[in-house]
């Protein structure tokens, strides 16, 4: 398929547990940062500077390279007005794009529904991991959740191929096309066939895949590889989701955070190389988000839950640079000891939905939000 016929797709990476923005994009020339972070800081000489004021934490080398090529947008000070410091509630807010009340539909679930209103392709949205993140949950919207692409589908325990073949054959017959004149049975039949179809199609992806990129062995890198495999198999998938963590670094933050970013940065950059090798980089956007930031002052070993956070966008069509204002560390500007958010996360969502996926954002994110300019025209 020629490159200009590809439909834009989105890879969403959730950093579970709240990534520390101050130790990710470090304000290394700001004395206040070292005052508030006497122990849990990144020394100025170690950062990978992007300008005179800010630099990436040292284990983000591969992302720094993409930044240098203009493919990384940083959205600083992202969040919502009245911060909630509970992981679960805050994740829900981001998942459902609804800070005011408890909502049930995920923003990406709604996006999938709008991308494929008839539900023609059961693989329009895929989660790589077990269970469905609430972002993707939306009643009536089929989303596949892939724990392991190699064994994905029904009866993964059956190792004997012939045995598995017999079982799948029987399953296909039992859920076959005939009519029961019973809406529940008919619905189960349809669902069973969707499940089989999704699995049959997905299982072809690893076999079709070839690449010179060698991903690391950690689970996150394997998920990113699975995403690339499915993307290159060209199955019509538009939204890919995966998550990694835990970034909940209350204690021992420095080594933990370094290892996490080494994994994320390496796998994202490897995936990007893979996209380039296969000509998908300009049609793919990666969104990296986390539920909130962390407290400005360290606790002697790590950092506690905070408010304003950091999101990133990566891709060949991303206009690299800093978006949102980097929140001030001045005491007068803080919010109960936290970074104050200065841009609503739904601005980033709306920009992606309208300008990248071509959807109507207000109906998905529950309102009108100013767009950011991180996508190349």
């Amino acid at each position: 398929m020629p490159a200009n016929e590809k439909k834009p797709s989105l890879i969403v990476i959730q950093l579970i547990g709240a990534n520390d923005p101050l130790n990710t994009v470090v304000p290394y020339s700001n004395g206040l940062y070292y005052d508030y972070r006497p122990i849990v800081n990144i020394p100025a000489e170690d950062v990978l500077p992007i300008d005179d004021d800010f630099g990436f934490t040292p284990h983000m080398g591969p992302i720094k390279d993409l930044w240098d090529r203009g493919n990384v947008a940083l959205v600083n000070g992202i969040g919502y007005t009245a911060p909630v410091r509970s992981h679960f509630r805050s994740m829900d807010i981001w998942h459902t794009a609804e800070p005011e009340k408890i909502a049930t539909e995920g923003w990406l679930g709604r996006a999938i529904r709008d991308l494929d209103p008839q539900g023609d392709n059961v693989l329009t949205g895929i989660n790589f991991g077990r269970g469905l993140p609430r972002s993707l949950g939306c009643k009536g919207v089929p989303v596949a959740s892939v724990g392991n692409l190699e064994t994905y589908g029904l009866f993964p325990d059956l190792e004997d191929e012939q045995e598995k073949g017999y079982a799948l054959e029987a399953f296909a017959r039992m859920y076959g096309m005939s009519k029961d004149n019973d809406p529940v049975m008919d619905s189960l039949r349809q669902t069973g066939r969707d499940a089989l179809k999704g699995a049959d199609v997905l299982r072809t992806a690893p076999a079709k895949y070839s690449s010179t990129v060698e991903y690391a062995q950690n689970p996150f890198a394997q998920s990113m590889k699975n995403i690339a495999q499915v993307m290159f198999a060209d199955l019509g998938t538009r939204i890919y989701y995966t998550s990694y963590g835990s970034f909940d670094t209350h204690g021992g933050e420095l080594p933990t955070h370094a290892k996490l970013w080494q994994d994320v940065s390496g796998a994202v950059a490897d995936c990007y190389s893979d996209l380039e090798e296969h000509g998908w980089q300009d049609d793919t956007m990666i969104l990296i988000w986390t539920e909130f930031g962390r407290r400005i002052r360290d606790n002697g070993s790590g950092t506690d839950h905070g408010a304003g956070g950091l999101a990133m966008l990566i891709g060949g069509s991303v206009k690299g640079g800093m978006y949102g204002e980097y929140p001030s560390l001045e005491e007068a500007h803080q919010l109960d000891g936290d970074l104050r958010a200065n841009n609503d996360f739904r601005s980033t969502y709306s920009t992606i939905l309208e300008r990248w996926l071509g959807l109507d954002a207000p109906s998905i994110v529950n309102g009108q939000f100013e767009h950011l300019e991180f996508i190349e025209k």
């Binding site: 909630v84 410091r85 509970s86 679960f88 509630r89 829900d92 408890i102 909502a103 049930t104 059961v122 077990r130 269970g131 469905l132 609430r134 949950g137 009643k139 009536g140 089929p142 989303v143 596949a144 959740s145 589908g153 029904l154 009866f155 993964p156 325990d157 059956l158 045995e163 017999y166 079982a167 054959e169 029987a170 399953f171 017959r173 039992m174 859920y175 076959g176 005939s178 029961d180 809406p183 529940v184 049975m185 619905s187 189960l188 039949r189 669902t191 069973g192 969707d194 499940a195 999704g198 699995a199 209350h250 407290r295 506690d304 839950h305 905070g306 109960d336 936290d338």
Partner: protein, 469 residues
């Protein structure tokens, strides 16, 4: 004892519990249907694993601050209880009065709420509603700690009427406000401490210690109120007394019980059953035990119409499969994984998506959930070392050489009995026929013959029919 008696008992145990093994069904048929209903409705000693034993092996189930450990703990109780209706009904109240961890950050308080359902779930409905109104998890979940004399917060007052009793359309907006006023002062004893904690402690904003209920007279609006036509200086208990007297409440509660225990869809005959349940509700002074007794003993419940008329919920499916396979009878590592399985299928225990609870019926089963359901149950039943599977194999072994048809029929019988369509049966027969007749003569644990049985049991539980209870 007849097959019909076994099938009826299996139906009762699927609904009033999480299914039962053939041994248990035979013992219960001996007791007689009415006597079994009486026993189920009067839970005495559930003979669960003692909490101290569980804690020794599962430290995450000791403090229960996190949802995973707490959900696993409740799952243990469902899996090992000898009083299954107690747990099944608690699951019903949990779905109806859906309170979620995501706002609470304190799973212990949720487990305390479930325990309250065990104590009051079968008793008087007004008592249950009063206890619910005093329940710390509910107070936080629906903001009644923010409901003050001079500044009401309507959240609890509204949901009490809309989602927990009368149902929408049976009260006015003024009734909501008056209801909220009546519940002012129903709050947490340590509310201020918690508020301070919330602003200072960013790790556990709501809770490191358990909450307790306190009635604060000074913060209670003692003025005159008019609620559903009754005027007086009404307090929360008075509101509950008025609510439970309403026909709309009787209809609401009986309909929800009917749908949970009998059939997802209410047909005309079902409406008549609900009518009898409502009469019992009033005659018994609002006692849930009596209402359920009417339901379980009515002809409709026992008839073919009610068989397999419900889609199994994920927790019901998981607990049923584990009880059938007998795989978790002692404190076994991995039980949290089992609790997580239900979440993968769309029902995170203690984590309902909102106060409306889960969307039940056929909405449980989307394609991702079906894959999880089939794979989990297949995994449990393919393992011929599981005690429940061994019992099935032992019964089959006594029956000589089995043709594919006989083998399928015997397995379907021992799995329920399950009723399947001819098409399903033929597919299963064809699957087994690949390897011809089965002889378990001289079988050894885990040998090829046994594995064939495990494979068939797995596939029989991958059917459409197995998705129904």
């Amino acid at each position: 004892m007849s097959n019909q008696e076994i099938a009826l008992m299996a139906h009762l145990m699927r609904r009033a519990g999480f299914g039962a093994s053939r041994d248990e069904l035979e013992a219960r048929v001996e007791m007689g249907y009415e006597a079994v209903v009486v026993e189920l409705l009067h839970p005495t000693d559930p003979q669960n694993l003692p909490d101290d034993v569980i804690r020794r092996y599962h430290t995450e189930q000791a403090e229960m601050r996190l949802a995973d450990g707490a959900a696993a703990y409740w799952l243990y109780r469902m899996i090992t209880t000898r009083c299954p209706l107690e747990e099944k009904l608690s699951l019903f109240w949990h779905s109806l009065f859906a309170t979620g961890y995501n706002k609470l950050n304190q799973a212990r308080s949720l487990i305390n709420q479930i325990d309250m359902f065990r104590r009051h779930g079968l008793g008087s409905f007004p008592t249950l509603l009063v206890e619910l109104s005093k329940d710390p998890a509910m107070i936080i979940w629906l903001d009644n700690n923010e409901n003050h004399k001079d500044a009401i917060n309507e959240n609890y007052g509204r949901e009490l009427l809309e989602l927990f009793s009368l149902g929408i359309g049976n009260y006015t907006e003024d009734d909501v406000k008056e209801c909220a006023r009546a519940f002012t002062g129903w709050t947490l004893g340590n509310a201020e401490y918690m508020a301070t904690r919330a602003s200072r402690d960013s790790i556990w904003p709501y809770s490191r210690i358990a909450w307790f209920y306190e009635y604060r007279e000074a913060d209670h609006d003692d003025g005159e109120k008019t609620f559903l036509g009754h005027t007086g200086r009404l307090n929360g208990e008075d509101i509950v007394e008025i609510i439970v007297r309403q026909e709309a409440t009787a209809r609401f509660v009986c309909t929800r019980l009917f749908q949970f225990f009998t059939a997802d869809q209410v047909d005309e005959e079902g409406e008549q059953v609900i009518g009898s349940m409502m009469r019992t509700y009033f005659d018994s002074n609002y006692e849930i035990r009596s209402v359920l007794s009417t339901l379980f003993n009515c002809d409709y419940f026992k008839s073919d119409k009610a068989r397999f008329a419900r889609v199994k919920g994920p927790v019901e499916l998981v607990v049923g499969a584990v009880r059938l396979a007998g795989s978790y009878q002692a404190p076994t590592q991995g039980i949290e994984q089992v609790a997580r399985q239900a979440m993968y299928m769309g029902q995170g225990l203690l984590q309902p998506p909102s106060v409306e609870g889960w969307h039940e019926g056929i909405e449980w089963v989307d394609s991702g959930a079906l894959v999880e359901r089939v794979n989990f149950v297949a995994h449990e039943l393919a393992n011929v070392e599981n005690p429940g599977v061994r019992k099935i194999i032992d019964r089959l072994a006594g029956e000589g050489v089995l043709s594919p048809e006989d083998l399928v029929d015997r397995c379907l019988d021992l799995l329920g009995p399950m009723e399947v369509s001819e098409e399903t049966r033929e597919s299963l027969v064809e699957y087994v026929a690949h390897q011809g007749d089965l002889s378990l003569h001289g079988h050894q644990p885990g040998d090829a013959a046994e594995k064939r049985v495990g494979g068939l049991l797995s596939l029989a539980c991958a059917t459409k029919e197995f998705q129904l209870a």
